[in-house]
Symmetry: C2
């Protein structure tokens, strides 16, 4: 740990002299360390540094910044074109949280530059109360049909894993996206190639309604030791999933 | 959620009349719900119920009980033979925490009935400070050699997954069990069958020393959004891993 702290201090020192000279060092940092540096340096260096970062690095760092450090101000300090590119790299739930902090005019300028799908998903997420399950959830889920074989499911897992940073469970749905159950990734890996997904569903499905409070989500995941929990609407349609890291932040905030 | 609450209330009501009559209902419960019932019923019903449970169910429920509910008293209320069987079903870190609460004489009676390997692992875990990384870690890890192929690694994943409840990352070690890096399960799934494990290691390895405080473990996992973190000794030997659920409990306790 002290080695990480030393690295961060060294980068901060170099940044104080020249943002340009720090460039090669930044590549080696974890996005969470980069976020910490952005939080701790002067506002001027912060904006200079943020402009210099590649889009994907800027996006990773932004999503890790504490909201007290006002990451939305960094978005407003760059062109709407670049801001839109950074937003598209974020998880939709992080994007919605960040955009909700912007003045309406800045928000519009960025939203108009997003792809149609991206804009629609983010606008929908912004309708949920920030402190509800809907406000925490990521609508990008790994969902498959109950009548698929393991082989088909694995192909989908491999396809989706190019886009999704992480997944902990595979949600099984019917033709109308009703949530039928969960298959742990472990269960899928261990199954025979011809196994039918519906037969791999584990019983005791734990899920939460989209409108419940985030504190109840956290307590449910804590009680049942879940890395991820599915979120449903009143008709049991699968809307998204919440992961342990969102919930650790909630537990931390409430303390 | 309210449906879960109703189920729990219904089972509690039946238990108050007859522990025997509740038997078929108990099978449908999640271990965390069963733990909650054990915490909430009278001490007499609790002991009756606990004696009636199959060993694996008793073990699951015990590991989910709050330590304020004194689960160790349930262990002392049954024969040392049965207690040893229940302990062997527990994760070693949970077993060590529970056994540490027992009077020395009861502890010895149970320890003498454990398998040699189990006894050695638990005794070693009991030497760590309960509030350190060593006190939180589970020594059962999924570790593989850097020079294996994906195919060999998948065989080991399938083998280990029979024993381990959950894993989130695969640790890569050398011949002397020095930690070389981490391969996410996702990365392994996506690799070609002939891929070499060493080439799949992700950079930016985050790990913790066995003697650091549990609060620092929690803050590190929170900062880097980790579902699991490896624990090492001063010579970088892999000793175990800590998962997000242990750390959520820490965050909860500190609040």
């Amino acid at each position: 740990m002290s080695q990480v702290r030393n690295n961060i201090e060294r980068v901060k020192e170099i940044l104080a002299h020249s943002v340009e000279r720090a460039k090669p060092l930044l590549k080696k940092l974890h996005p969470s360390d980069l976020a910490q540096i952005l939080e701790e340096i002067s506002p001027e260096s912060r904006m200079l540094l943020f402009r210099m970062l590649p889009v994907d690095t800027a996006s990773d760092a932004l999503s890790e910044m504490d909201e007290d450090a006002r990451p939305e101000e960094l978005l407003m300090s760059i062109s709407p074109q670049r801001a839109a590119k950074i937003i598209e790299e974020l998880d939709p739930d992080d994007a919605a949280d960040l955009l909700a902090q912007l003045p309406r005019s800045d928000l519009r300028l960025i939203m108009d530059r997003l792809g149609d799908d991206e804009e629609r998903v983010i606008e929908e997420l912004m309708t949920y109360d920030e402190e509800s399950a809907g406000g925490l959830m990521n609508p990008e889920v790994l969902s498959i049909s109950a009548d698929w074989t393991k082989r088909q499911a694995m192909e989908e897992v491999i396809r989706i894993s190019e886009e999704m940073e992480d997944f902990y469970a595979i949600y099984v749905v019917d033709d109308e996206n009703h949530l039928l159950g969960v298959v742990p990734l472990k269960g899928l890996i261990r199954a025979r190639p011809q196994a039918i997904i519906g037969d791999l569903i584990v019983d005791k499905l734990i899920k939460v309604a989209v409108d419940i409070d985030q504190e109840e989500v956290a307590q449910t995941m804590l009680k049942y030791n879940l890395a991820a929990i599915p979120v449903i609407d009143a008709e049991n349609h699968l809307l998204g999933r919440i992961t342990f890291d969102d919930v650790m932040d909630v537990l931390q905030e409430e303390s």
